[in-house]
């Protein structure tokens, strides 16, 4: 007896018709499509999002918005040219109702002044996807290749954005280290990363690793009166400006890792200073 099913059946039940459009060009050209969810490899986001916006479609784009701050800004500028279309950056802390609920609690001031944020994401897994052919495997494993936003871009961005959302501020300065500890196959992206951030008077300590699951994932806000801990096991409204701003933090982390140095953010000129 089979319990398998075709996922396309789901859409039939939901009353929707489903067509397989096997290229983004056909998707963009289709007049029947009103909105697009972009869940492609990060470095490809910009071209696809711009094409969709230019074709008059609403866009929900997975985080990170793009592979670089320049690309993210290009997306934000395009979105500003089409004010009637919605562009949303898929940051979990902005979309998840639980996070938004806790946000009200934190912003009530009950914690006092937030002194420390301790956040981590720990999961022992290879981050590699299996595929039927070597070519397909290379395509699927873009997260492990040069140009990947790495742990800070693909995972850390959600927790850093949560910190920014709750504290109402972004890091002025940041330093960090990355290392390849457990998964020394042919990848170039670190499997372990640490970041120290200066957010107003709050000091933020973030770390992510694929080498150990110990402690799982959490974000702890230690205030002078109280602390608030948010634990997450599973992944779950953000405008384009927020999407760009948090992208800057990822770029700062990348610059800190590459230059082995402290990176500051020049708020006035919106530039990284190393």
């Amino acid at each position: 007896m089979s319990t398998t099913y075709d996922r396309r059946d789901f859409f039939k039940t939901a009353g929707a018709t489903l067509a397989l459009l096997l290229s983004e060009r056909r998707l963009v050209e289709s007049s029947a499509v009103e909105a697009v969810v972009v869940a492609t490899p990060t470095p490809t986001h910009k071209d696809i999002v711009l094409a969709c916006l230019n074709a008059g479609k609403h866009v929900y784009c997975e985080a990170p918005l793009a592979g670089s701050v320049g690309d993210a800004r290009a997306i934000a500028e395009a979105a500003a040219r089409f004010p009637k279309q919605v562009l949303q950056a898929g940051l979990q802390g902005r979309a998840n109702a639980l996070y938004r609920h806790v946000s009200r609690f934190v912003k009530s001031g009950v914690l006092g002044e937030v002194a420390l944020v301790n956040a981590q994401w720990s999961k022992k897994e290879s981050w590699r996807r299996a595929a039927p052919t070597p070519e397909r495997e290379r395509e699927l494993n873009w997260r492990l290749a040069d140009g990947s936003p790495g742990l800070m871009g693909e995972i850390g961005i959600h927790q850093i954005d949560l910190v920014a959302q709750y504290l109402g501020a972004y890091p002025n300065a940041l330093t960090g280290f990355g290392s390849l500890v457990a998964w020394r196959d042919d990848r170039s992206v670190p499997d372990t990363a640490v970041c120290l951030m200066d957010v107003g008077r709050t000091r933020v300590n973030y770390r992510a690793t694929l080498a150990s699951s110990f402690g799982n994932a959490y974000t702890v806000f230690q205030g002078s009166n109280f602390l608030q801990s948010i634990r997450t096991n599973t992944p779950p409204n953000c405008n384009e400006d927020l999407g760009v701003r948090v992208q800057t933090v990822v770029s700062m982390a990348e610059a800190a890792y590459r230059n082995k140095a402290l990176v500051r953010f020049d708020e006035k000129n919106r530039k990284l200073l190393t």
């Binding site: 007896m1 319990t3 398998t4 290879s126």
Partner: protein, 203 residues
């Protein structure tokens, strides 16, 4: 047993469904085997989150809360499992029955080690049990309970279903040698390990 993450055989484990799932992938390139194994374990975890009656956020918990009042639309895979369970109930004339939820509670098997219920409690629970009161509508893909206190529980089939789903993922990646078990009571194997003609399980 190798502790090298990049050597085969690849061994992976997961705590889910109140037990420990383990997976051994025999022959091939370790990096590729592990990627397939991690996908298989992720599917088991997804099913745990969907089927568990211990998680108030699971789809099955939602069904148990709602289906007495109104038909509930269920995910396609879960609907297939419900149909499969109904067919098993029919074939076994009710010996297998996922609607035993109320009796499991009365006998203290939920979050406990069991207790003797009073005659009244047993009768009351029993009145809300019976696979024939589980109404499935394949066209709308809905489930509805014919009795107000009904509850479904996949405790008897969930682990095996999860293992089948994991095996299906491994096969889709052309894995020729694998063994998956959940708490050693449910086991599914493909092929044989590199150094033997068969998988050997403890007697």
């Amino acid at each position: 047993m190798s502790t090298d993450l990049l050597a085969s055989p690849v061994r992976l484990a997961l705590d889910a469904m109140g037990t420990r799932f383990e997976l051994v992938l025999g022959s091939g390139e370790a990096v590729r085997l592990r990627a397939a194994g991690e996908e298989a374990l992720a599917e088991i975890l997804r099913l745990d989150h969907q089927l568990s009656t211990y998680r108030s956020s699971s789809e099955v918990s939602w069904i148990n809360v709602r289906a007495s009042q109104t038909p509930v639309v269920v995910e396609a895979g879960l609907f297939g499992l419900l149909e499969c369970c109904q067919a098993l109930s029919r074939a076994t004339e009710g010996a297998f029955d996922i609607t035993v939820g109320p009796l499991l509670r009365a006998w203290g098997f939920v979050n406990g080690t069991g207790r003797l219920p009073s005659d009244d409690a047993r009768r009351a629970a029993g009145a809300n049990v019976g696979w024939k009161h589980l109404e499935l509508d394949p066209d709308r893909r809905t489930v509805r309970f014919g009795k107000p206190g009904m509850r479904i529980d996949f405790g008897a089939i969930g682990k095996g279903y999860a293992i089948d789903a994991a095996i299906e993922i491994l096969r889709s990646h052309d894995i020729r040698s694998a063994l998956v078990h959940g708490g050693t009571s449910s086991i599914h194997a493909i092929g044989a390990p590199d150094d033997s003609d068969a998988w050997h399980t403890p007697r």
